[in-house]
């Protein structure tokens, strides 16, 4: 049942004058460690950290190229319409400007992704507000802005749709034949057989809103382009090879003539997964036409209104349970709003669908899901990628189911947690060790859940400030779904210089999550070297192989494994030639490398991903082994609700997760803390205000993300059950915190106030009415 794992603990000391935070990481090892790890498990400082703390790190807007000019985008104000004409203000000396429109595109006018439905520049039709129509470039940034305002796009408006309901009802068909980008249908067992014999049937509808990624560094690109030499772009991005593929199509050039370089990236969270292909295309088109290097940097307002956001969602649950609260059947209907073009909606839908039934054992499950089109800027990747939406619905729903059955939320989970050997809703047998009971035990103990539940219930009777505590239990699959990793066929390369400097070449990007450091630790461990001897090359498609996109919680687990294998292969090459004997010193290693290169040529290893033969996924039935590994978690949120103002504060937060192996404790905890903060924003503060498909609160003053005063103490605890296919046993963790945070908060608010939360963000405006209904 319960088994020991490595524990990392953060301890807090309280002083008289307030809370002085004092953290110390302690490893309690109760399982025997086979070999003593030297690099893995240590909080090695971030490799590129010095540049970041001194201001010398160079982000795209910090770069200047000789002969560089600036570019801006002229966008549609209509939500949907036919472009009748583009008018240029006669007062502006247009001969000084480079002007690009759809007709100037050398290749195909599209932003190539899964399909090619999204134009790079709107041509005859506009399908969403802020759609790019015209590009301008000029050496003077200020004049450029005047010029932007001097272009008028004349449209004849067409009727537009803005809601999931209108899209499903086909009030207007704006995409394909039926507005549906993709749909899935998943069946396990026989759902229809359960309703008649169920003791309880609980239904519910749950909604989540759009969420803006709000990386603090806005989107930006610099491009050089020349019909003779090709196209090169430098910019803030997560997936150099996605941009590469899109530019190949846009320009109709051979692969070798397109080069994409990632600059230091100030946050991504998915917002720089697919969108950079668009802005790179724009900068490159201007560079192509002007013959100069062109820099496009979005200001915050443009970034907010024109780029991707988390897909809004609508989930319906219908659940059959026995008298004892055992799940008999779950029927789930899950819809996400994809905006005007397909982009990545099928994949977001996929992950949301697969995660919709959670870490529970239920013999009969039906999940029907679809991604639909509306006339809004396309929604896109945001950490969690569909799962935060469906997990919010599930975990909120299960608390309600518990209430109907008459048992506690905790008991309802315990009676249904998946165990090793059982089958998840989509047909995957859980072969790895999992103990949700233990995680729940720990999370509830660490948060003082039971004591607080009782205490709050008493205190609430006498106070206008109601306190509550709630939790969510969940899992998150790491890597691409099903055969996705096989399809990606990722590669990582290690090259060693004659001085023994080890270079890791991978397409994976650092954007704060710690890629550089984790890769260095993995390679250093495999080679028995220090991290200083490992260099991680800046991702440049001219130099590094395609390691797949930096998304899907896959970078450490999948690509890190390739890095580990490549490093071990290099060591093997030296050992085989008897140039090295273990154990060896760094000096001996360097000497062996020099000898190898002098005698045998390049010392390098290219490793390609091999899909485990025992993982099977059926795309047609949408069933099987969805992910190689899962992180498992229980999060507990403590809230206070001021009934006078309906303001909610998260007072404390406990995050317990089992993640295989923690490569770098500081970086790993940082990922959880940051993700929890984003989850708090998702639950309480981040409200996109829409008006006819346009975000009208596109400023940081009006789109509210949490400040340092809004975030509670966040207590992070890791457990480690090594995953055999992960580097040193590591699984992916980047997206995990986005799944459980919002439902834990929603459940806590329900506990505090009796309000039945069905929707996030839970704004005070919505809550104040609900509070009054409860008291009535």
């Amino acid at each position: 049942m319960c088994f020991a794992a490595n524990l990392k603990q953060v301890r807090y000391n309280r002083t008289k004058s307030g809370t002085a935070l004092h953290s110390r990481y302690r490893t309690m090892t109760t399982e025997h460690q086979p070999t003593e790890l030297q690099q893995i498990g240590k909080s090695i400082p971030r490799k590129e950290g010095r540049g970041k703390v001194t201001g010398s790190a160079r982000y795209v807007d910090d770069l200047t190229f000789p002969d560089m000019i600036y570019g801006v985008t002229v966008r549609s104000s209509a939500s949907r319409g036919k472009i009748l004409g583009i008018h240029f203000d006669k007062q502006i000396p247009w001969d000084q400007f480079t002007i690009v429109m759809a007709k100037d595109i050398p290749g195909k006018n599209c932003v190539a992704l899964l399909i090619e439905d999204q134009p790079c520049l709107a041509d005859e039709i506009v399908n969403h507000p802020e759609e790019a129509v015209v590009l301008l470039a000029h050496p003077d940034k200020y004049l450029l802005e005047v010029a932007r305002q001097g272009v008028r796009i004349e449209t004849e408006t067409l009727p537009a749709i803005y809601t999931i309901e209108d899209s499903l009802s086909r009030k207007q068909v704006i995409w394909g034949d039926d507005n549906i980008f993709k749909s899935y249908h998943m069946e396990k067992g026989n759902v229809d057989s359960a309703w008649d014999t169920a003791h309880f049937i609980v239904e519910g509808e749950y909604e989540t809103g759009a969420q803006e990624q709000l990386y603090i560094e806005p989107q930006g690109m610099i491009a050089r382009a020349d019909p003779a030499e090709g196209v090169a772009v430098w910019g803030s991005l997560q997936c150099p090879y996605y941009v590469h593929k899109a530019l190949v199509r846009l320009f109709g050039l051979p692969k070798e003539q397109i080069r994409v370089v990632q600059t230091e990236t100030g946050g991504g969270f998915g917002g720089k997964e697919e969108y950079p292909s668009m802005i790179a295309g724009h900068a490159a088109l201007l560079a192509w036409k002007s013959g100069k290097a062109v820099k496009i940097i979005y200001d915050r307002a443009e970034d907010m209104v024109a780029t991707t956001k988390r897909h809004p969602s609508l989930t319906r649950h219908r659940t059959a349970v026995t008298r004892a609260g055992k799940l008999m059947a779950m029927e789930i209907d899950f819809t996400i709003d994809g905006g005007a073009y397909e982009t990545l909606s099928p994949v977001v839908l996929s992950r949301g669908t697969i995660h919709a039934a959670g870490p529970y054992e239920c013999p009969n499950v039906r999940i029907r899901s679809r991604a639909v089109a509306t006339n809004a800027p396309p929604h896109g990747a945001f950490r969690g990628f569909g799962a935060p939406q469906s997990v919010f619905a599930l975990e909120r729903h299960l608390d309600r189911v518990a209430g109907v059955v008459g048992i506690s939320p905790e008991e309802l989970r315990r009676r249904n947690f998946i165990q090793q050997g059982q089958t998840l809703a989509f047909g995957q047998v859980v072969h790895e060790r999992v103990d949700m009971h233990h995680l729940l035990d720990r999370a509830l103990e660490l948060s003082g859940y039971h004591e607080k539940q009782k205490q709050f219930q008493e205190d609430n009777l006498r106070s206008s400030i109601k306190r509550g505590i709630g939790f969510a239990s969940f899992l998150h699959g790491a890597g691409f779904t099903g055969s996705g990793e096989e399809y990606l066929a990722s590669e990582a390369l290690i090259k060693v210089t004659r001085d023994g400097q080890v270079c890791v070449l991978a397409g994976s990007t650092e954007m704060g999550q710690g890629t550089n450091t984790v890769f260095a630790q993995i390679a250093a461990e495999a080679l028995a070297l220090e991290c200083e001897q490992i260099e991680i090359l800046q991702p440049d498609t001219a130099l590094v192989p395609n390691s797949g996109p930096t998304v899907a919680s896959r970078t450490t687990m999948i690509v890190g494994k390739l890095v580990e294998s490549a490093a071990l292969t290099v060591k093997q090459l030296l050992l085989e030639r008897s140039l090295l004997k273990e154990p060896y010193s760094a000096k001996e290693f360097s000497s062996a490398c020099r000898q190898y290169i002098e005698n045998f040529g390049a010392l390098e290893s290219l490793v390609k991903y091999q899909h485990p033969k025992d993982l099977h996924w059926d795309d047609g039935k949408y069933q099987g082994d969805a992910y190689g590994a899962y992180a498992w978690a229980v999060y507990v949120a403590e809230v206070s609700v001021d009934t006078r103002t309906a303001e909610v504060r998260v007072q404390d937060f406990v995050a317990v997760q089992e993640v295989g192996k923690v490569i770098n404790p500081v970086l790993a905890a940082g990922q959880i803390e940051g993700g929890v903060a984003q989850g708090i924003g998702f639950a309480l503060y981040e409200n996109v205000v829409w008006q006819e498909g346009r975000m009208i609160n596109g400023q940081m003053t009006n789109y509210i993300m949490p400040t340092s005063m809004d975030i509670p103490p966040i207590h992070v605890f890791f457990e480690e059950l090594p995953y055999s296919r992960g580097p040193a046993g590591a699984k992916g963790i980047g997206e995990l915190p986005l799944d459980g945070t919002a439902p834990a908060i929603a459940n806590a608010i329900a506990h505090a106030t009796g309000v039945d939360i069905r929707q996030i963000p839970i704004t005070p405006e919505k809550l104040i009415d609900m509070l009054e209904s409860v008291h009535a």
Binding site: G18, S43, V53, Q91, I92, G670, A677, Q699, T707
Partner: protein, 163 residues
């Protein structure tokens, strides 16, 4: 095209050096620092004084440089992130950010470090609450602030131990 006013010259001290700069009177100090003075460490995150990524010290006071017109920089003393380390020796806060994970993507870090050193100059041993308040004008999307607080507290501890 609209009429342009004349550029003006401004004299100020930046990171201990006397500098003469040339720009339009209402140009943002942020842009002048980044472009004319070549100090790209100060960042633009929002252009509306909300995120604090552009924070610098102006005559000892923490300000958002995106909201300061160039003309008002005349005769002032400015410190940017490039002026925090002492000839390559990192300040305690900078070192602590490295050790304790105060920086992830790094884009908010220059402004955050300026805010932290400014806070510590006014209050050498702040409580966690005081740190939260002192840094409330600097938004971070990556860290959830937790390790930023830890870093600042550790920097204080390091400084206290030395004293």
């Amino acid at each position: 095209m609209p009429e342009a006013t004349r550029k003006i010259q401004v004299q100020c001290q930046i990171n201990g050096q006397a500098v003469t700069l040339d720009a339009y009177p209402m140009a943002r100090l942020l842009d002048v620092l980044r472009e004319q003075a070549g100090l790209t460490g100060t960042k633009e995150g929002c252009g509306e004084g909300e995120c604090g990524a552009c924070a610098v010290e102006l005559d000892g006071a923490l300000v958002n440089s995106c909201l300061v017109p160039f003309a008002q920089a005349n005769g002032t003393t400015i410190r940017t992130i490039e002026g925090v380390a002492d000839h390559g020796r990192l300040a305690a806060v900078q070192q602590a950010f490295l050790t304790y994970g105060g920086a992830q993507c790094g884009i908010c870090t220059p402004g955050m470090i300026l805010a932290a050193v400014n806070l510590l100059a006014r209050n050498a041993q702040p409580t966690e609450t005081e740190i939260r308040e002192g840094l409330a004008g600097n938004l971070c999307r990556c860290t959830g602030y937790t390790k930023i607080f830890e870093s600042v507290l550790e920097a204080c501890r390091a400084t206290r131990t030395l004293a």
